[in-house]
Symmetry: C2
Subunit: 374 residues, 2 copies
Amino acid sequence: MQFRVIAKDKTTAARTGEIVTARGRIRTPVFMPVATRGAVRALTVRDVDELAFDIILSNTYHLYLRPGVEVLKQAGGLHNFMKFSGPILTDSGGFQVFSLSEFCRVLDDGVEFRSHVDGSLHRFTPESVLDIQRVIGSDIMMVLDQCTDYPVDEKQAREAVERTVRWARDSFRHWQENFDTEAQALFAIVQGSVYGGLRRECCDRLRELPFPGYAVGGLSVGEPKELYREIAGLTLSRLPDDRPRYMMGVGSPMEILHAIRCGTDMFDSVMPTRIARNGTLFTSGGRVNIKSSAVESDSGPLDPGCGCYVCRSFTKSYLRHLYRAGEISALIYNTYHNLYFMNTFMNEIRESIAGGRFAEAYNKWDAVYGNGDI
Amino acid sequence: MQFRVIAKDKTTAARTGEIVTARGRIRTPVFMPVATRGAVRALTVRDVDELAFDIILSNTYHLYLRPGVEVLKQAGGLHNFMKFSGPILTDSGGFQVFSLSEFCRVLDDGVEFRSHVDGSLHRFTPESVLDIQRVIGSDIMMVLDQCTDYPVDEKQAREAVERTVRWARDSFRHWQENFDTEAQALFAIVQGSVYGGLRRECCDRLRELPFPGYAVGGLSVGEPKELYREIAGLTLSRLPDDRPRYMMGVGSPMEILHAIRCGTDMFDSVMPTRIARNGTLFTSGGRVNIKSSAVESDSGPLDPGCGCYVCRSFTKSYLRHLYRAGEISALIYNTYHNLYFMNTFMNEIRESIAGGRFAEAYNKWDAVYGNGDI
């Protein structure tokens, strides 16, 4: 994996560049749609291909539980299993173990947990999650980290940082010794909750090892927006300039723009697809609630400026009808549109940075999305 | 609408032909996928286009309740609303009023019912359901009929036949006087439950008026299979040779083949799509339960002989994984495949009739699907 910055904004830390992997080039800043269990919810793989994202994300925890390592091994990895040929990044499962498991016990050398599917007992170690990601065939792997809830006291946050750093070192060693490090990159994850000192320390200690990329974890977990922005900003500024910076789980237009301003290169979030399934759609003029009676007879497209299949084909009136009738196609069309929006949005931001117009783009979107929560 | 028989089987009543409408040619025998509320469940309209069915079916009762006549009028009809340019047949709503409504009272001149959606009170008459179908823009409209449950005593069945015949006459007159009869054809529906005498009488009385087509209603509503076949056979044989015969709500391969043998030209059923959503898939070798642990590691396609996108792309193992994980894409892929199967199956049957090989085709499929209930 190679990363290079192509252009930088003059007044902020925003930058545009590219990550080159064996499976394709990823233009940054990039938004990665989430295919948690080997499928983007409500879309076919050919829809995903058509949307032409440079990379998608999948999840080690979910894939480990279902379909399981043996099935993935027999399929020759996730790319072949789901028939997606572009780059795939996989989260390590750390976040899911701590947030989804019925039971979870942190050990010095890993974490023991019960499956949220059937209650069975499992153990993840820094090494084992990489071995699973090897079977998955991830182009970018993430280390096992200890993700803390919000709020958490500083003592607990420090313990999580200590463990996260130790596990990152174990991961790095295992990766160096046992992997094709060019084919499968490994990113570290910064923890430290909302404690600036801990965040800085975690960054500095992780930087001691030359990871190909660094992610910010443990944010967007319920902390107030201002605190999120402060901690995100100081953490991002502490990460190396010559490596991709990845803000995990952030996906609203304004949070993305803020993080890009602080130098972020990569994003993932289920938010655009989740709100789509709830009838909230992104447009160039702001959010549209497709359930609203206001669009009952609206024969215009969802977003006249959008070139996606849904906007070129259907009226708001039809989309509302499908949603209210509980049609599965409502979920398909809404998801397709919101992901198309995200891709177009990211394209525009990348071009604005390359063209020296990032502030202009920021202000334009701030006027549209600056007041909402999402 | 024009209908012509192109070829007949030598030993049975099976025949192949074509119905020509302003919106396209329908090769018969034809299977119509069901887009109850203006969408085929789990598919996009471009999936439906790609599957290339000659005609689809939608439902007056459902469309009348949601999105309603005003919205459809403003959209310029259902074709424009859902962006489907091929022929559409609409059921009159008779069957749904009797089977879905919370309350339903049969009057001499129509039926009063409460919406299953919100309990509101409505009335359908032979004339009003045609007026709704005019707004929908149906290429083939169905008359309002009184559909009986199974079992029903002969006296009640006779009353339903009397009403059905009277309503068919009212419908015919309204259609002749107020419609572009070339652009919007009208089919009559035969009732009579499982009483052969009533069925024959209903056929004879409906034949007194030159409807462009005749449908058999009130079957496949729970009667024993043998009784269904007997009544279907005698009813179909009593309908005019030079008009399309439509067996309503029948969709399993063997019931279709039996009805084709008795001279049926048209079919509709939600069965292939409903069982798809429950994980049961049609293949050339019989039904496959995609939930089964037997296919957990099966790296073969669902049906090696099938040319559909799903069979060309994915393994049974992946399809099982998606289904078990509750992914929406499982519903999409399964539905797509079963409809592709139905279309291919009907193509093969049409060709076998044209080529004088219908008995051969019947026996081939009987060996595969003859023992199952579906």
